[in-house]
């Protein structure tokens, strides 16, 4: 749960999304209104927050809040 909360914090900050909307199944583009530049900012924000280096290929696969949480749990 701690990781979910940290991921949520980055999403709220980088996408300007309402905290209520950041549910595990929420999709960044379709549900949270992110554009392509904001996705890049979000990925960079996750890298900073969790000390990760996320490749472009991996970033392509992170399309939902849950996918971001899973990625962090696996790679942190």
């Amino acid at each position: 749960m701690a990781i979910f909360d940290d991921v949520k914090e980055v999403i709220v900050e980088k996408l300007g999304a309402d905290a209520d909307q950041v549910t595990p199944e929420a999709r960044f583009v379709e549900d949270l209104g992110a554009d392509s530049l904001e996705i890049v900012e979000l990925v960079m924000g996750l890298e900073d927050k969790f000390g990760l280096s996320i490749s472009d290929e991996d970033a392509e696969g992170i399309r939902t809040v849950q996918a971001a949480v899973d990625y962090v749990e696996k790679n942190q």
């Binding site: 300007g16 530049l37 904001e38 890049v40 900012e41 960079m44 900073d48």
Partner: protein, 412 residues
Amino acid sequence: MTELKRVVMTGLGPVTPIGTGRDAFAQAQRAGKSGIGPITRFDPSEIASKIAGEVGDDLSPWLDAKEARRLDRVVQFALVAADLALQDSGLTREDVAGERTGAIVGSGIGGMETFEAQARVSFERGAGRISPMFIPMMIANMSTGHVAMRYGATGPSSTVVTACATGTGSIGEAARYIALGLADRMFAGGTEASIVPLAMGGFANMKALSTRNDDPQAASRPFDAERDGFVMGEGAGVVLLEEYETAKKRGAHIYAEILGFGVSADAHHITMPAPQGAGAQLAMRMALRTAGVNPEQVGYINAHGTSTPANDLHETQGIKHVFGEHAYKLAVSSTKSMTGHLLGAAGAVEAIAVAQALSDGILPPTINLTNPDPQCDLDYIAEGAREQQVQYALSNSFAFGGQNAALLFGRI
């Protein structure tokens, strides 16, 4: 070439250190209010000039949370000014959507705050960590882009970047698109948000800025013997320009007509004006000639009047060359004495001041002119705002790089 259309100003959007919106700005000018104070946006202790004209008004009523977060302050000012101009014109957002409306909203520098912040990221953390929003937040044409996007205005679009002549140049260029029949309406003006260490330090080290830090409200004193540089200001001016017949048909309030436009180069020095304001003279003469107005018909000049020793002297000399004996009969004032110098926004804010002067019959003053420079011996309206109806007025803007622009306005 078809016959040129007439171009009028029907909406005024000032965002300035002395007031935001048409009425607040007009009232502050009449009262001779100074918008200058100690810098609060950052700690200026390392910079020689510690004073500026900051915009204190809350912009949040105009901007949603995402705009407030995603846009540099320079674009935020532009959007608020554009909304104000639109509202003032009586037109709706639907009216300005589509290809018959365009925009030219320039900036002398662009998103300086973003530039400085992301340069720091690059130095401290490496270029790989620069925000993907850096470029779209920083580039100087983005205010034009955002104004067009805000309303869906797909007509003529361009950006003038001529430092301190930007606002005047933008309005002059935009008016031409309407005159040529390529648009019915244009959002035109300038915006600037450079009260940041990088810009303040740069201008201060050029010795361009006033260091009268102990008396901020008296620091911007154009044409005064004790002037010691300009005072940085921030904000935006956007006007709605409209084709005359279209404006008349819908019963719009017309503040003024744009009659003439002049642009020239000193071709002399990067920052110093040409002797006797030679390039400025050419811009003023072009504005008169394109308007078909004689020098003797001009009743008011809104001077560039930055409060630097060089500008005010050479501008005064230039006015005397162009207007001869009439230079002593017309009224001249520098509204920068109140607002400070808004760089790329200055000319647009001053065009608004001129439009109000023509429409209301009140000429704005030059404040702080208590001990006139003997070489600056014109009527600068030093005693306070003056009730006087003039028919034709000129507005001057001169830039680093030696670029000069002048607009000639007429009362309708």
